[in-house]
Amino acid sequence: MRVTGLRLENFRNHALTRLSGSDSVNVFLGDNGEGKTNILEAVSYLCLTKSFYAGNDRVAAQIGKEYFVLEGELRSDRGLDFTVRVTFDAASAQKKFLVNNAEVETLASVVGRFPVVILSPEGGLVTTGSPSDRRKFIDIAISQASKRYLDELLEYRRVLKQRNKILLDAKIARHDPGDAIEPWSESLVDHGTELIVKRREFVKDFAVQVADAFQKLTGEQETPSLRYLPSVDIDDGADSAAIASEFAVQLTENFSEERRTGSTLVGPHRDEIEFTINGLDLRKFASQGQHKTFLVALKVAEFHYLKEQCNETPVLLLDDVFSELDEHRSHRLLNMVGQLGQTFITSTSEQVFAGALESNSGAKRFFVKQGVVTNEEAGNFVH
């Protein structure tokens, strides 16, 4: 997939920005706070229906404006053109998502149609942060590839909330929840088992891709890996039925503790995915550089995974990543993304790109200043 045209109206500090992207690398240059990331955020809205970092839509509408409109001309790998539009109206807090002028029924139905991979400083949490950051990472990746997974995930979360409410009410009132909790435990096991099976399968395949990307980036012989550590203790080869019965048993075993805490203590909402380099836990033993390289490798692997699963080449968004990598790895990364697909890159420094983009005749360079974007063909790329 490629974004051939982009239009931002009243979005962040962009009153009205139109641009046509290059099919390969698009570089947005400018000082801090000029509006570069906002452009990537707009692409994120068009592909994922939401921002990749801000939690609410209201803050994305330009200050003093009551709405924003984003429009993208997207072309699929097979050459089909889509006009995708996101509109947000602050008064009603309504967001609409339209594909070729037809409003989609649910925002969730869009996820995965226009795959996107985002590498940003916030994304760094996946290697340094808590288990929930890693769960979020794999959930987004699998959800883009499988709508069924996204459905199961949303349903699991809803069941979990309902079940926790019973436990909490029972704790506060000091009464036995009785058989009222049973259907929710059963549902939790049903949906949870699906998640466990999918996550286990994903991590296994994905580890191979990460190792491959890592090797290409560093050229060194370090072996990164991923290990799935489900909260439900299961045997390696356990099938769905075995996982479900194990899950049910462990729920029962934990029940008195659950009643004491008033919340559900076993299940995919407590899974961990361990990242390792040479067998050592990344979080405990890795250097800053290894963290960054691992993160980039994760994203490159996600790109390949989505491309294969969605049958569509994802768009790559790289926000401010080159300031964090050394020159050697920056160049390797630039070369790599140039061959992957359409890429949007933001940077405060032209320096990184000096020389690297000359061989790429299709690359475009944009300058961003106070929400205004000007473009210069890469042919006149000066440095």
């Binding site: 009603s92 499988s146 069924r148 349903e155 309902q162 079940r163 009222a180 259907p183």
Partner: protein, 197 residues
């Protein structure tokens, strides 16, 4: 604001209704103002009638004006099948298909602890005596969401000791939808829930 108090009060009332915002409420109030007095009286009477005349069927808990309701007192309906649904509107939808000739039982919702709805808040205990009276099959037709699913699980366990056949409607393609256009998740569930023919 330069407006009449009665209009404001009416708009206020409309705004309490589900799905009606301030703007629409105002527009409705002004529309009523323009209507003939007679039309307004008919409307007001209709509102009061709903409250005065409609009650719950003592057998199936559906809304009705005569008790038992028309379905429960229809001798041509097959007394050996009970279809359990969440709301009166579900009865309406199922009746439109003209497929089902048995009786209904309306629970008045689905289990949802977050909304304070447990088994005691639903008309579950009213269902049990009906089941013991020579019923062959209980069909659970809850909404395809997690609350409906939990309600199905709860009822099937509850009904087990009665030795009656309990089935649930297939969680699959919506009627009238094309396989081709069904989304992937629906399709895969439909496949999973397939039955022998």
């Amino acid at each position: 604001m330069y407006t009449a108090e009665s209009v404001e009060q009416l708009a206020e009332q409309f705004a309490q209704l589900p799905g009606i915002g301030r703007k629409t409420a105002h527009r409705l109030a002004l529309y009523i103002l323009k209507m003939e007095r007679e039309e307004v009286t008919t409307l007001a009477q209709a509102l009061v009638n709903v409250k005065d005349k409609v009650r719950y069927c003592s057998v199936c808990s559906n809304i009705t004006e005569s008790d038992p309701c028309r379905i429960c007192s229809d001798v041509k309906r097959d007394q050996s099948f009970i279809c359990v649904v969440e709301e009166p509107s579900d009865v309406l939808a199922l009746e439109k298909t003209r497929e089902f000739r048995g009786l209904y039982h309306v629970l008045g919702g689905a289990l949802s602890p977050l909304d304070g709805i447990g088994p005691d808040e639903l008309r579950v205990k009213e269902l049990l005596p009906r089941v013991s009276n020579g019923v062959q099959e209980v069909i659970l037709a809850m909404n395809p969401n997690v609350e409906g699913e939990a309600t199905t699980l709860y009822l099937s366990k509850l009904l087990k000791p009665f030795g009656v056949k309990v089935t649930r409607i297939a969680r699959g393609l919506p009627m009238g939808s094309d396989l081709e256009f069904a989304d992937e998740a629906t399709l895969s569930r439909a496949l999973e829930g397939r039955v022998a023919v």
